[in-house]
Subunit: 275 residues, 2 copies
């Protein structure tokens, strides 16, 4: 069997880049991590060939990837999207943005344009992080032993309706619903901040539900919705009753740990097949 | 000219109830304020015939209104919508909710049902707060001397698209957009909380825009979007460049004070005709 080509990991925030590094190490696959300053966790570059670049330095980043023999790329972990001014784009970056229009694109639109550029102009193959992690996508059905009750099922249905409407506008991927009331919807602040601010907004009685859902037509090789044990802990701290995610399009960072955390906290975590 | 019938003011949060009281006083119109516990500002019942009731005590509230000879009603100021459990509905309230389905309705849906009940079952007339305040609705065009630039115009257009999508789902009325990025969208937390949390999310460069927009098909006699001088101050503190509201359907609490605050802070405030 031919050995696999060297994988370049474009590392943003969160645990996902480290999980990809670990999976490649376990499979003896060579990797190079291009870590984005201000986003990537330093833990994901320990004992791995790597370089740090700032987001606006695409020219430098592409040169480093080529110099290190990278053929295939994966985007792992989100980046805090800056204004064009704060980005200080280098010549290569500016040329790209002049062509696609930085401000005209939502997050998903921009990521799609970046992937197209990496493949069609720069000649890399771009793969989805979920294809590198075994068993990473949420299945349909419960992950732990707790199940949603009738009220939670109704909140889940409304949450998916809201999250999909947000996603259609490329705004965010998550909403929190309690007893039919939409307590909060996610934009650029991220899911952790959404959960934290909905804690004090909760009403008496049965807690609410966090719904995370891939955007309709979402580019699957970037920014799939992601949850981990930390999401469960945050949900429990905010008094939520459970979490529902789109099955087949949400990345689970450590499925067993998620199920264990949910069982201990008394929360349900379910994957839901979204049409 | 026949004297006007006594007006019952169902007083929720914010400055609007007090403004309605003042307008009636100036017009020598008799009023009775039914102030909701936990929502209404005590300032709106000073030197006015009034009673405090809790939200779930509709039977008591209706009796008080009749005992005081109220014929016409106005709903002024929002209330923090509780869970059904925290509402502790009395018999009259419970009967109503059993019929309309408390949990099945969004804010606007519930307000429409309440107004229908007050008019068709209880025999009151319900009027909009804007009809009692002269010059209260935002006109099309700028309120002060600052104007949106091209970037702000683009952010305003996106903000209205987002706010209308939220409104269609009866989630909220406001969004904040900066340089094409949706920094935040409003659900149950209210506009002041939205503005405050978007301050730390702002990107470098030109500040963002707060857009407030009536929900498509919104019941105009309740919960029209409202801004006041305090909204301008909060927007300035969060680093926003300006505010855009739906013309003809947003209540301005003190137009001159809004324009003055905007001029001093260097912000624009514009009314936009929304189709």
């Amino acid at each position: 069997m031919a050995s696999q080509p060297k994988l370049g990991i474009l590392a943003g925030a969160g645990e996902l880049p480290l999980r990809v590094v670990e999976a490649c190490r376990a499979a003896d696959r060579p990797v190079f991590v291009l870590a984005f300053e201000g986003s990537a966790d330093p833990a994901c570059v320990v004992d791995v060939a790597h370089a740090w670049v700032r987001l606006g330095a695409a020219g430098e980043g592409l040169q480093i990837l080529r110099d290190n023999g990278v053929e295939e790329l994966v985007m792992a972990g989100g980046v805090k999207r800056p204004s064009l001014l704060a980005l200080r784009p280098d010549w290569r970056t500016a040329k790209f943005f002049a062509r696609v229009g930085y401000r005209a694109l939502g997050d998903d639109g921009l990521l799609k344009a970046i992937i197209r550029e990496l493949e069609e102009v720069e000649g890399f193959r771009v793969v989805g992080a979920d294809t590198l992690l075994g068993d990473a996508l949420a299945p349909a059905g419960p992950l732990g032993r707790h199940l949603p009750d009738a009220q939670a099922e109704a909140d889940i249905a409304l949450g998916f309706e809201v999250a999909r409407a947000l996603g259609r506008l490329d705004i965010g991927q998550a909403a929190i619903v309690q007893q039919g009331l939409v307590l909060g919807v996610e934009a650029i602040e991220g899911t952790d901040a959404l959960i934290a601010r909905c804690g004090p907004l909760r009403r008496a009685g049965r807690g609410g539900v966090l719904v995370k859902c891939a955007k309709p037509g979402q580019e699957r090789r970037a920014d799939l919705p992601t949850i981990g044990p930390g999401t469960v802990a945050a949900a429990a701290a905010a008094g939520l009753a459970g979490i529902a995610v789109s099955a087949g399009s949400t990345v689970l960072i450590d499925r067993a740990a998620i199920a264990g955390a949910a069982d201990r906290a008394g929360l349900f975590v379910v994957g839901v097949l979204v049409p």
